[in-house]
């Protein structure tokens, strides 16, 4: 399997937690264990100088085990380099929040919770971001019925 310099040095540092890796056409990707995501992100930020968290999203591999994959996109401004970190997560499992490392992770993790229903442990305020409170289910899951109608929320009188 292809691997470049950065993946090699990351694997030397945290070899126990890396489940897989590839660098196909410049897409440097590592797949890591769910339990150690916070530790790994901290190392990547502080020792490998990935200062910027671009995005957090999730993929639903419906019918597979583990069902989801949470994907983190990192950018290093100082090294002009990008890295993708994937974490396999099964339904109902929690991923450690990385809000202490990057403030932007707050809304990104809320969006992932809203759309995919993946819980982030120790998140300061894990509410829905795009949909409203009272929405049932998680809209981007593959088993969300395409024609389901949700109750239309009535205006609250205390609404400001």
């Amino acid at each position: 399997m292809e691997q470049n310099e950065i993946i090699r040095s990351i694997r030397e540092k945290i070899s126990n937690d890396v489940l897989g890796y590839h660098s196909y056409r410049g897409d440097d990707t590592i797949i890591v264990r769910r339990e150690s995501i916070f530790k790994i992100m901290k190392i990547l930020k502080e020792e490998f100088h990935f200062e910027m968290l671009i995005d957090i999203c999730a993929v639903d591999f419906f019918g597979q085990q583990p069902r989801f994959e949470v994907v983190y996109h990192l950018n290093s401004l100082s090294q002009k380099m990008r890295l993708r970190v994937k974490v396999p997560v099964d339904d109902g499992e929690e991923v450690e929040s990385i809000v202490p490392l990057w403030q932007i992770a707050d809304w990104l993790e809320r969006e992932t919770w809203d759309m995919m229903g993946i819980k982030f442990a120790n998140h300061p305020d894990l509410r829905r971001l795009l949909m409203y409170e009272g929405f049932v289910g998680h809209a981007l899951r593959k088993d969300y019925p395409i024609n389901r109608r949700q109750p239309i929320i009535k205006p609250k009188h205390e609404y400001r």
Partner: protein, 158 residues
């Protein structure tokens, strides 16, 4: 009623008061444009000199619902926005009318999904539906004239 006596005394005029009020109301529509999406471009086009909605007396947009007669809902209404729209509607004073501008507000349009209100008539009453994605300015003017006809024919609340 006082106006009755002042205008007409005991002559024939009393029976036509309803029409006079309707006539004056239909040519002095103050709109509140609730613009959320691309239909807003067509609303602007209708408002500007080429199509000139002011010919129909509806040229003055009020950006406070308390000063408006006509709520023009222009563009997609998401579920999260629904309570805001209802609140705007409730803030308007009577008499008030609602126009659903564009297919998204009429039925949800092609946004047959989890996030979009499937027609604003599920949350507030609607007087005139203007379909189209977006509707041509002529269609909007046609809808406006239909609304004027409706206002004229109404039993006028005074």
């Amino acid at each position: 009623m006082e106006v009755d006596k002042v205008l007409a005394g005991d002559s024939f005029f009393t029976t036509r008061l309803n029409d006079v009020i309707g006539w004056s109301r239909k040519f002095s529509i103050f709109t509140y444009p609730f613009v959320t999406a691309c239909c807003g471009m067509e609303y602007m086009s209708v408002s500007c000199s080429h199509y000139d909605i002011d010919r129909f007396g509806a040229g003055l947009p009020r950006f406070s619902p308390r000063q408006a007669d006509l709520l023009m809902v222009v563009g997609t209404i998401s579920q999260k926005l629904a309570p805001v729209l209802v609140r705007i509607y409730e803030q308007m004073t009577n008499p008030k009318w609602v126009v659903a501008f564009g297919v998204c507000t009429c039925t949800g349009g092609f946004y047959d999904d989890y996030a979009t209100v499937q027609g604003i008539d599920t949350i507030i009453p609607v007087d005139v539906y203007i379909p189209g994605c977006p509707p041509r300015p002529e269609t909007v003017l046609d809808g406006l004239m239909k609304l004027q006809t409706k206002i004229q024919k109404e039993k006028q609340a005074v």
